[in-house]
Symmetry: C2
């Protein structure tokens, strides 16, 4: 996947990242050292550290790549559909398709990422870049749909939609069905449920509950408050 | 904790269980064998297998014990309080207190239990006994409160309340705050949120959403459907 037209430094960066992902998959994340990654990629250890200052940074590089591929893959559905449920289901299923090659890696790597205090957690301050890109997709899912949304929920619903995507990711990590068929069905069902929730959030009596759910997540997950603050800047 | 007045077989069972928990904590769950547990407990390996046919069964024994201790510990709050939020917060905080000695064990053991297909998952068919006992507590939380509940939600809400308790357990596993102080605050906040949700579920327009959330969980978590079926028997 190394692009010959990209600048040399970009090519080296991609080479190191792809070598790391292959070694993580072959040897396990915990057992793979930066030195082994550099050696296998044919660069000096110092050079590898220049691009990624730790193994954790390599995983952030992986998250960023998945997020970028996902942003490209959702264009057809987001440019065409105006129905919220179809937009959301399309976005979730595009993610499952992009992540498919990494399923085995994700399962062995999960125990490192499940800890919210780990830099590898999707909720960590270190993951903010990839998280913001992923939440941006959900902002567009909502903004481009014909669903009406209360002004006080416009900023909050995309973060909750992203959280429900994290629920799908957790389910997918352990999904052993052929072609992750069960995860695809969960994506469809989740999109239906979320659309119903968004539709009910029109009712004034329900909005405080939505706000309280969101507040609970931002108060208890380390990186979420930071994301919420970044949104207000 | 071995009770001198209990029958001999009950004493042996308790001895094996407590030895296993200690070894899991000292050596890690994966590295502890049934043979080592038997040896350390001073019984034959055959005898250990008579009481627990696998390591997984030892963990079920652990779950059952926690559930039984919890059922006893919630008596004061459930006999006294009629306010739903106070009942629920009391029940959640009693669980945190009972589980406190096992926090270190829970963290290292988590990766085995997080997989919904594992017999150690709280959602597995194998965990049904402990899960039913835990859901029973939530049935009583709701039934003994002065909150009004729609008839079609009476069976469903306790299972959803138990699911939110599983969310708290997940948070607690990774909670490194002194005395798990953050988990205690999450228990309070979660009880407030759930009470608000139960109160809103009086509105007819919201009930289909609650039913759909519950249906999603029973369709996608292996043991939940079984629990739902058992409830109807």
């Amino acid at each position: 996947m190394t692009d010959a037209k990209a600048p040399k430094s970009e090519q080296t960066r991609t080479l190191i990242l792809e070598t790391a992902l292959r070694l993580f998959q072959e040897r396990g994340y915990d057992k793979t050292t930066m030195r082994a990654i550099a050696q296998e990629a044919g660069v000096s250890t110092g050079n590898a550290y220049y691009y990624f200052s730790s193994k954790e940074h390599l995983v952030q590089g992986f998250y960023d790549r998945i997020a970028a591929e996902h942003q490209a893959a959702v264009r057809p559905v987001l440019d065409k559909e105006t129905d919220l449920q179809a937009r959301l289901a399309g976005v979730l299923k595009a993610w499952l398709d992009i992540a498919a090659p990494y399923h085995e890696f994700a399962a062995q790597f999960f125990k490192n990422a499940a800890d919210p205090e780990s830099p590898l957690s999707p909720f960590s301050p270190e993951s903010e870049h990839a998280r913001e890109a992923a939440i941006d997709v959900h902002r567009e899912v909502l903004a481009g749909s014909k669903s009406k949304v209360a002004p006080e929920l416009v900023d909050i619903l995309p973060e909750l939609m992203w959280l429900s995507q994290m629920g799908l990711v957790l389910y997918w990590v352990f999904d052993r069905s052929d072609g992750r068929e069960r995860s695809h069905r969960l994506a469809e069902r989740g999109a239906h449920l979320t659309t119903r929730g968004v539709s009910l959030a029109r009712f004034r009596v329900l909005r405080p509950l939505v706000l309280e759910v969101h507040e609970l997540f931002t108060d208890f997950l380390p990186g979420m408050a930071q994301t919420a603050t970044a949104r207000k800047r």
